[in-house]
């Protein structure tokens, strides 16, 4: 944290809130919109206080209409605003998938730059909070396959704030995935002054030489915990699209062993992309198979079984041990 002056410790919700507040204060074109983001402050309270501070013109309570909300944001962006949309849970982003893929991602290309789409779509993401069905999705891989979109996943209050600031300032559409499990799990002191964390750069969360562990979001913390006994290099990707290929390859070249940890089902998950990148560009440096620790390829179970579904520390350690056996 490159700061001397600090504020009281923030959890991720508060960090996000302060990013929104500051960017709204800096740029009058930034508006926040979504279901219950206004008077109610959002179901996780990320937008709390914004309605009172900026009024209903800039903190816009919308009808229950995900496709329409994202579609409106696209139109607003085309007309000069910078909308930050909240989708209540990632399980409800699918109705807006068409707008994101068909329009948000392509407006710049379709109009050869005459129009652009500087929107941010924020949504709580991931399991581990014992919620009901469709409140625990982690389908980041879908969005990461779409050229024209960017995909960002913070892992701490500090990164959440700095990345959201960058996402809002980014001239292209950003899917901003907030790990629900982390919303209130970690507190951190934040710099008092303005800061932004550039998109597209991974963070080294722990340095080591024996094995590279790559993760993002809520699994990063399990990966860190699992890595404790090892001389592991732990990479926190932060941006999934475009991801920091350079950081991945550099670490793999150093250690020769890789474990990638993702919460989503294994097949066609984001870990597969990282693994494929390594298999293509760093294979001569590998001393062990590239292991993916991921959820099973099953429909996400309800709360009572969700822990069995997600990768646990034991699974991660097993994978680390496996790579170290080579």
């Amino acid at each position: 944290m490159p700061s001397s002056q600090v504020l009281p410790a923030f959890n991720m919700v508060q960090a996000l809130n302060s990013a929104l507040k500051e960017e709204m204060a800096r740029n009058p074109d930034v508006v926040v919109m979504g279901e219950d983001v206004g008077r109610d402050g959002g179901v996780f309270r990320v937008t709390e206080g914004l309605y009172d501070a900026f009024g209903p013109q800039r903190v816009i309570d919308t009808p229950l209409s995900e496709s329409g909300i994202v579609g409106m944001a696209i139109g607003m962006a085309a007309h000069g605003l910078v909308p930050v949309v909240e989708i209540q849970f990632m399980g409800f982003i699918y109705p807006a998938f068409d707008q994101l893929v068909t329009n948000a991602a392509r407006i710049r290309a379709r109009s050869r730059g005459r129009f652009s789409c500087p929107i941010v779509v924020r949504t709580p993401y991931g399991a581990g909070v014992k919620a009901i069905e469709l409140h625990s999705e982690s389908t980041e891989a879908l969005f990461s396959h779409i050229p024209g979109l960017k995909v960002v996943v913070p892992s701490t209050p500090y990164t959440a704030k700095g990345l959201l600031v960058s996402a809002i300032r980014d001239p292209d559409p950003v899917i901003f995935l907030e790990p629900t499990r982390l919303y209130r799990m970690i507190k951190e002191e934040l710099p008092a002054e303005e800061y932004a964390i550039p998109l597209g750069k991974a963070r080294n969360a722990k340095e080591g030489n024996a094995v590279t562990i790559i993760s993002w979001g809520s699994m990063l913390h399990r990966a860190l915990k699992a890595a404790e006994p090892y001389d592991a290099d732990v990479l926190d990707l932060l941006t999934l699209s475009p991801y920091d290929e350079g950081a991945v390859l550099a670490s793999v070249k150093k250690t020769g062993r890789v474990v990638i940890v993702q919460e989503a089902p294994k097949s066609c998950g984001f870990a597969s992309e990282i693994s494929a990148c390594i298999a293509e560009k760093a294979i001569l440096h590998l001393r062990a198979p590239v292991m993916r620790v991921a959820a099973f390829d099953v429909v996400l179970p309800f709360a009572r079984l969700e822990e069995y579904y997600m990768p646990g520390i034991k699974n991660i350690r097993e994978a680390i041990e496996e790579t170290l056996r080579y």
Partner: protein, 356 residues
């Protein structure tokens, strides 16, 4: 060639039972005393279930729960207008509908405790599992209704949803398709005035939900959703009309959600005490009770018996749910496909429940 009028539309509202327990005899549906008592008992079970679910949640014995308090008449009154073989597509706020269909209470508690076995709908109950993603079940209802026609069955299909749900594309597509296929579907909107914090007036600029049926070329009607007779009558007519080949109906049950949106919500952030009190005075169950008293349907120990029966049913449900315990972890592999794929079989072999 002046401006000409192509068509005109009237949106009506049906009220039968007033707040003092008087029913309009001209509109009163032909219900015998036993039927009215049955209605009342379901309402009582629904209320008891709801109360207990809320306290179970506070005690950490179940997860987040969506209360139906205030909406019991809308749910029970409409559900009872369907035949057993009619298929119902519910949302997450339809405990009263499940209860009116004699759904095992322990399974409802299972569902709300995060156990999908609660939605392994028994073979003799025709209700779809709870749909969490708002409005997405409306096209399902249109499809099931069209399939019933295809199979030459006299089956009606219902979809239940909220006022917020009417803003979604799938509300529109489901309603429009049902209209085009003249499907025997009844669309029942529980207009409880809020979608979480969003008041009905901010959900759509239309003054009623009922008038949205105009867009689909079939009938829409508003009923007093706290009036079990009006709800029942309007639904019964819609069901009969659907089965007679008359196509879909949209019913707006004008009611109120007396509790928070769910146990994770705090409604005092966005609505006034006075508003809630206004609606408390219009409690749908109290109103039927007054009617029954006036009609001599509830003398003696009746009230107490109903309450006891409701409580013991709910207690049994809780007991059974808590005795059942969680599912086997391996259970999560069983229902993704009919049989496990080769890839999944390998994953199953690698699974050790001792994980985490």
């Amino acid at each position: 060639m002046p401006e000409t009028v192509l068509d005109t539309f009237e949106i009506k509202r049906l009220d039968i039972l007033d707040a003092r327990g008087n029913a309009d005899p001209a509109l009163m549906p032909p219900l015998g005393g036993a039927e009215i008592k049955k209605m009342y008992e379901y309402l009582a079970i629904a209320r008891t279930f709801d109360d207990r679910a809320l306290s179970m949640q506070r005690e950490g014995r179940i997860g987040t729960y969506a209360s139906i308090r205030g909406q019991e008449a809308s749910q029970v009154g409409s559900a009872l207008a369907f035949d057993k073989k009619d298929l119902i597509f519910p949302s997450y706020r339809e405990s009263g509908v499940f209860i009116a269909r004699d759904y095992p209470l322990h399974m409802l508690f299972q569902f709300w405790s995060g156990d999908e076995r609660g939605m392994k709908v028994p073979g003799d109950i025709n209700i779809f599992p709870i749909c969490i993603s708002v409005s997405t079940h409306l096209p399902h209802a249109a499809g099931a209704a069209a399939a019933a026609v295809y199979k030459k069955e006299k089956t009606a299909v219902a979809a239940y949803f909220g006022d917020g749900a009417t803003s979604k594309g799938d509300f529109h597509e489901g309603m429009n398709l049902a209209g085009v296929f003249n499907a025997p579907a009844v669309f029942i909107c529980q207009n409880n005035q809020y979608a979480i914090s969003m008041p009905r007036s901010r959900q759509t600029a239309a003054k009623t939900i009922a008038q949205k049926a105009v867009a689909y070329g079939f009938k829409g009607i508003q009923v007093d959703g706290n009036d079990v007779f009006a709800v029942y009558r309007a639904t019964k007519e819609a069901v009969e009309n659907a089965k007679a080949g008359g196509g879909p109906t949209l019913i707006e049950c004008y009611t109120y959600r007396l509790s928070d949106h769910t146990t994770a919500d705090d409604a005092s952030r966005y609505r006034s005490r006075e508003e809630v009190e206004y609606w408390l005075a219009r409690d749908p169950i109290a109103r039927l009770r007054l009617y029954m008293e006036k009609q001599g349907l509830s003398g003696g120990k009746y009230e107490e018996e109903v309450r006891e029966k409701a409580e013991s049913l709910v207690d049994d449900g809780i007991k059974k749910m808590e005795e059942t315990g969680p599912a086997e972890p391996q259970d999560m592999f069983t229902y993704t496909y009919q049989g496990p794929t080769a890839r999944l079989s390998a994953q199953i072999r690698s699974f050790s429940p001792g994980a985490v």
